[in-house]
Symmetry: C2
Subunit: 458 residues, 2 copies
Amino acid sequence: MKFFAIILLFCVGTSHPVKAQENEDLKSVEMIFDEALSDNTAYESLRYLSKEIGGRLPNSPEVREAVKFTAELMRSAGADTIFYQEMMVRNWIRGEETASLISRVHGTREVIISDLGMAVPTGTEGIQAKVIEVNGIEELEMLGEEAIRDRIVFFNQPMDPALKSTFTAYGRAAAQRVQGPSAAAKYGAVGAVIRSLTLATDEYPHTGVTRYDEEVPKIPAVCICTAHADLLSEWLKSDPDIELFFRTSGRLLPDVESYNVIGEIRGTEYPDEYIIIGGHLDAWDTGEGAHDDGVGCIQSIEVLRIFTELGIKPKHSIRAVMFMDEEVSGTGSVTYAEHVRSSGEKHLLAIECDRGGTSPVGFYIDAPDETIARIVQWKPFFLPYGIHLFTRGGSGADVGRLKEFNTVLIGYLPDTNRYFDYHHSPNDTFEKVNKREMQMGSAANAALIYLIDKYGLE
Amino acid sequence: MKFFAIILLFCVGTSHPVKAQENEDLKSVEMIFDEALSDNTAYESLRYLSKEIGGRLPNSPEVREAVKFTAELMRSAGADTIFYQEMMVRNWIRGEETASLISRVHGTREVIISDLGMAVPTGTEGIQAKVIEVNGIEELEMLGEEAIRDRIVFFNQPMDPALKSTFTAYGRAAAQRVQGPSAAAKYGAVGAVIRSLTLATDEYPHTGVTRYDEEVPKIPAVCICTAHADLLSEWLKSDPDIELFFRTSGRLLPDVESYNVIGEIRGTEYPDEYIIIGGHLDAWDTGEGAHDDGVGCIQSIEVLRIFTELGIKPKHSIRAVMFMDEEVSGTGSVTYAEHVRSSGEKHLLAIECDRGGTSPVGFYIDAPDETIARIVQWKPFFLPYGIHLFTRGGSGADVGRLKEFNTVLIGYLPDTNRYFDYHHSPNDTFEKVNKREMQMGSAANAALIYLIDKYGLE
């Protein structure tokens, strides 16, 4: 059977200088991995950020502590310049969260919920109403006003486990959380409860932002853990009159100041050309923000530390960027892009690390074909570490805004099979990040930046 | 820069029948992944095996329960024939385990140890002696008798984090556990304490078998958790007279009967030719044997369930094999190989699943070059799931014995970055196995067996 005959021709340059260059680069890449795998600074920093500081909304005291902590860390990592970018962020704060199912058939029981970010509060009385289950926004719209009015809409569309990418599964189901509450309000719903976006069946509520349509009344909206979403769905089958009660007091206060944090190693040859790598420093407050996205922040700073430790003097200026407010309004990415626009700084490359701290798989590259081909040339350096995917793909919400500046955008891609078990939930804790998997990711990014800095992208 | 110019020529057959065949196979592979990713039977079975049955030495009541449980599971998975292979196994049982450091400088404190499998007991008094630290067997031999006599030898060689493969790092450091105690006894040591074989710094002792040399006295031997190995090493720097006390009562009783469990779906075209996939059912008793190797057993049975569920009637007979006693003496693999020898059964393919339940990376293939090339042809079916490594490599301790029968041997390879955090320790629990990662592995194996069964290997 010859379905696929694959012929691999490694046309390696055979002249001695090229071969010597290649060996030197291979040696450098191995030194970078050795350094990352043998040093615990990054892992211990993530421990501090997760366990000592913890969850950190962009407007919180915790995030201000994280701003100071990462700035200090950049200094120890050898950054020669550290600065902040000021911005005003939305000031939503979480309050009380309780919920119960009330059924004449099954009795009354508490269920585990969590307020959605930016959701309006229920008032001290809470809300109680009959529940109507829908499998996403399309089904809601098919049912229409008669079925929906005065109800709490239970959006129970699960992430599809059969999809190859968990991010695709998340993307498809996330609409019900982001637009669902306002879609339900259009038909007269009084509240919304959203199935947590995870492939696991457990008792962690997975929060996230909801975005209200200003044209319709804002209704309270919470997520419910998957175990209790299944329970509610089961109960509804034998008791369609079941009521849900919930009370939340999360609310929006006047905007406050917050910051991007940036640490830089000045380039030796092209100091005015930038290579940046970043994650977002804000994190949902119900967990510790370890996988999302403490790890991306710390891995970015670790690139600076590895360069400093190994005495690598980059030709271009290398920046680690801690973006603020990715989870709520994306203010940090807007602020950074505005800085690039107004300063006219040339940004050669921007890597986003915001898919968790598991083992590296590869890189999604958003650039012209010839740039992708150039990066793919270096793949053999990465294969021994299991890093095999160098392909066209999206970068991320924070660096994506630099596209207008012709920056080559890259999304660092770890294995995402288990990422949504943690994402936006109390299960996103330091203990769920494996040291070596995290270290492998830092090394992958540092090695790629090393090669791009050395040889450029043209 | 053109270090590597990679030209990929996919010489896909363009005639219509071949293309149609390819599409049909792609569809079958996708159906296999869909089924594995959408069904929780395997994950719930692993939960039962880990949490309800738990750790299971080859001679234990737990393993007998596991034998019955997996036989039943094979029946539900659609096996038409289920049988046992009887054998006698070593009957080592764990007893009391306590240890303390006694230092005039630092005081006295308990440390966490665990008996090594097959180790002799200390006697009720325990043993107490000065400690000499060595970085593996070579250093022990350099020090010689004068330094070693009447001491407890502290083998403190860590796994090397800079090595690309954690299995290589394990293999290099494991000699001190397997041969260390007898090597120390040759020079008059009274006991041995081995640094736990893991890259993590934590309080889990990682046990494993030790093998005594019959020519020298058998001395008690334990492993110590890495946190306390580091502590002991630190204390020794300022107090070389530090003593270690430990008491163990693990001991060997007369051999008992145990079993391999085999479930089979009879082939439609070549019923006398076998494709087997297996893991080992025994597991160290200090944990739950989830990653090592409950997951390999359940994934093997899951192949049968997927075939049955999708109505795939294999041409060859497919067997799931639960090997017994991999951890202590390898009796199950010997017994299975003897069965093959005496029955003359033709074994086309044997896959071993014994590297944990993380995301699949690929397959190590132990076969002639042309067979490997044949299997590599199917790689494009697997790449969308991140399964990319199809290369020459070792299979495993259980199926490895079938090499003499010209069986193609394959070692299923998941991502091994975090495997040794769990291996042989109380940390090897069900909760550390991610459902989707495990499901991806089952699917990878089922899809490969599907293709090999359909097209053969010649």
